[in-house]
């Protein structure tokens, strides 16, 4: 089936089988391998991307179900050579070890801030519980997200 996705600002038209997941479409059809395949069952969150601004597990979405949608992956967060504040915060807070879960963590965290529901560290932890970090960098991940929230507040963008 012929579909159109707006991926990181660029219109991409492609033919996919109905059973192709959004994750496989991004990685195998569009070459965007920043989005990771962890469990492929919606349990780990490594495949998290933003669809029309909302974070979803791309392994549990069919590409055809997202026909016409705007997709943002980890590759699309930096703007004009400037890291996204969340990417910078992950670096500042040393919020990763192996880095495999990081693209999903960062996309999920960007979605979290957009939802506007988390204010405390406890709420951040709860609302990030769909993203597993096997290295156990949770303390730094929460710190990074709080830093990014703070810097967005200071920038007056909220």
């Amino acid at each position: 089936m012929q579909i159109m996705l707006k991926v990181n600002g660029a219109v991409r038209r492609l033919a996919v089988e109905p059973r192709t997941s959004l994750l496989d479409t991004l990685r195998d059809h569009l070459g965007l391998t920043g989005t990771k395949k962890g469990c492929d069952h919606g349990q780990c969150g490594a495949c998290t991307v933003l669809v029309n601004g909302t974070r979803i597990n791309s392994c549990l979405a069919l590409a055809i179900m997202k026909d016409g949608a705007e997709i943002t992956t980890i590759e699309g967060l930096a703007q004009e050579g400037q890291l996204h504040p969340m990417q910078q915060a992950f670096i500042d807070q040393d919020a990763l070890q192996c880095g495999y879960c990081t693209p999903g963590q960062i996309c999920s965290a960007v979605g979290l801030i957009r939802e506007g529901r988390a204010t405390t560290p406890e709420e951040v932890r709860e609302l990030m519980s769909g993203n597993i970090c096997r290295c156990g960098a949770y303390v730094q991940i929460v710190a990074a997200i709080l830093q990014a929230m703070e810097s967005e507040r200071e920038a007056g963008r909220r």
Binding site: P18, R19, G42, N57, L60, A61, L62, I64, M65
Partner: protein, 56 residues
């Protein structure tokens, strides 16, 4: 995941007709449960009927 056909249904009558005429068709909304069951081959639908744009 088994190969399957995919149809977007937009009206209730159309949805009912589609599910009635194909015993192994399944409705799909978000898909986070059904697609996981399909990966495990617990569900092997012949057709997915996408209901996101159904107007009640």
């Amino acid at each position: 995941v088994n190969p399957f056909a995919y149809t977007r249904v937009t009206e209730v009558a159309e949805a009912v007709e589609a599910i009635s005429s194909d015993a192994s068709a399944r409705f799909v909304a978000g898909g986070t449960n059904l697609l996981d069951l399909m990966k495990e081959r617990v569900e092997q639908p012949s057709r997915l009927l996408a209901t996101v744009s159904v107007v009640a």
